[in-house]
Subunit: 372 residues, 2 copies
């Protein structure tokens, strides 16, 4: 994942999709779902399901694009899961893709604002970074934190990215660098923010018994859930609680029959450091206002109590919006299959991914389990 100036949207998608199909030894799935947010605005291209299917040599199969802002990737995966888990289809594939560079002027910033409420937020010039700045400012004010208290999220992500060959920023950052980083929308600084990137990631879904029969190194989907909230921040009951995250994680825990402490790692949506804190709180790992403490106490490192962003997260692996949810899922699979290389967590059995659309309006949570 990086700035792929030489690769069009369709090429990024095709490469990821064929990679996943090759890994599973599948030539032709029954259907594909494409998770993407901005192909219309940034590449003048819709009809993306059919386009990607055809370019991947899968002409004729069913194909759909699913959009849920920055949660488009996991939302596409959830739709594919519903088809397979209900027995309506057997073998399907999901690809998340976004092409964000190589655009004109401020087109990408403007398109990203479509994840917010266009009438009550975007119309007033609030960018997506601006919304996160409001949340971070309020969080610091209510809970008495300082900017530097968020540094652990960014530093951990960068440290973990060093070991991930697919990551965009494979270098560590220091606390000093975090503090010196130029402000983007105060208090959000450059190193609080995930970079704009091009990328795609894909996976193949099929019933576990079928995957085993094929001798595949598979992972079980233990839970799949989502939830929504008001799109505009001012409409939320409490802007510092991601209610969609509470809903989707509770639904996921209930499906999986587990409690948060049983999870071995959590690929969360660290588009901004404030989102990491809010996601940890919504998912039951910390009380309201306590998410930042997990970073301060070093509990989120690879050897901590709850490793997050184990392969760099959005912050350092990169955040090509519609692809991000699928990167998280692929990385969870890497950990559970033992394919995470230098960043491999020992003996991990259960991992969770959480993909956040907008400033928290649509949140999709999945729990994956190692198959013995």
């Amino acid at each position: 994942m990086r700035e792929h100036w030489d690769k069009a949207l369709r090429i990024l998608a095709e490469e990821a999709l064929l990679g996943a199909l090759g890994d599973a030894g599948i030539e032709r799935p029954e259907a594909i779902w494409v998770g993407n947010m901005m192909s219309g605005q940034l590449s003048s291209q819709e009809n993306l399901g059919a386009l990607v299917a055809d370019h991947a040599g899968l002409r004729g199969i069913e194909a759909f694009k699913v959009e849920a802002a920055c949660a488009s990737g996991a939302a596409a995966f959830r739709n594919a899961f519903l088809a397979v888990a209900g027995g309506m289809m057997d073998i399907v594939a999901v690809c998340g893709v976004e092409k964000m560079t190589d655009t004109m002027g401020d087109a990408t910033t403007a398109a990203l604002a479509g994840a917010a409420d266009a009438v009550y937020e975007g119309e007033h010039g609030l960018s997506f970074v601006g919304l996160n700045a409001l949340l971070m400012q309020r969080y610091m004010y209510e809970h008495g934190y300082q900017r530097r208290d968020f540094a652990g999220f960014a530093m951990t992500a960068h440290r973990n990215a060093v070991g991930n060959p697919n990551a965009m920023f494979r270098r560590e950052i220091s606390l000093e660098a975090f503090e010196r980083a130029k402000p983007i929308a105060d208090p959000v600084g450059l190193l609080d923010s995930a970079g704009i990137a091009d990328g795609a990631a894909a996976a193949v879904l099929m019933p576990t018994a079928m995957a085993r029969a094929h001798g595949l190194r598979c992972v079980r989907i233990k839970a799949s859930a989502s939830g929504t909230d008001a799109v505009a921040l001012h409409d939320r009951r409490d802007p510092l609680v991601l209610e969609a995250g509470v809903l989707s994680s509770q639904r996921a825990y209930s499906q999986a029959g587990i409690t948060p402490p049983e999870l071995d790692f959590f690929e969360l949506h660290d588009a901004f450091t404030i989102m990491s804190a809010l996601s940890l709180e919504a998912s039951g790992f910390a009380p309201r206002g306590g998410g930042v403490r997990l970073a301060l106490d070093g509990e989120i490192a690879l050897d901590g109590r709850l490793p997050i962003a184990t392969l760099g997260g959005l912050k350092a692996r990169g955040h090509p919006v519609g692809a991000t949810g699928m990167y998280q899922i692929v990385e969870a699979v890497q950990q559970l299959r033992g394919d995470a290389g230098r960043n491999q967590l020992p003996n991990c059995r259960l991992g969770m991914t959480q993909n956040i659309g907008g400033s928290g309006a649509n949140i999709v949570t999945h729990i994956f389990e190692r198959v013995e």
Copy 2:
């Protein structure tokens, strides 16, 4: 359906969704799917699932947007169907919506071109009407038809729209008016083309047994299928055969266990008269080049062998792109429930809808059956 200058995208969606939920007596479905193509480009709004859910008073439920160009409505319905038919959810709702007026300059024409191949068609200035003009010209050349031979499609649609209070153009047109209509992209004239419109339509899905237990006047989904083809016309094996239509209709007939003559009506995708001809051929009602004959012979009228566009079709009811597939489905339900008013078909039992994305790249077909 018309130009709703006073209604924003979210209002159109909310009204349709609440109408469908009210009709079914459902307060809170488990999830909604929103079919939409151009909200990002024309309303600077994505995250549309969560936005519509919240504005319809359904905050918290699962919500997704599905895009498949002009087939977005039926594609959203198909995704919802997969969840319910597989037993993963019980009660869900689907809303198709598009806001196409009240835009700047040629924004709508440019956004519509996103249904074509942006690199190989759109980049060269080919508009969506232009693509249909190429198809119509080739069809006339190969099969020896004249422009006026297509008039029956438009005249039938306009005649049927008179009896539909939701239709945009409730007036008949004459053969002379059709022939005199100004050319848009020769040979496509103004009256070959469906109008640009704002609109939304919605439906509620649940297992048939549950609907009966609730005493609802329901309709059974007998088949749900889709198929894809190359997005760019020049990549197709035969540009005059809608292979995605062949695939999706054959899959639908197979699921339903019926043959085309058993259908009592067909809500087809008459965005352009040429699409009506190609859709009839792909769905097995006429051989290659024979679709226009059905119009010339009057077989598509309300009292003909295969009534189409029974409430005005895209041509005269209007064609708000992402909503169209859901309008077709709602109209099929109206016919099968006996709610079609002046346009009611006598004793109809089986009806088919076919929603076409792009110039034929993604085609979604459904068959509905009256529940006694």
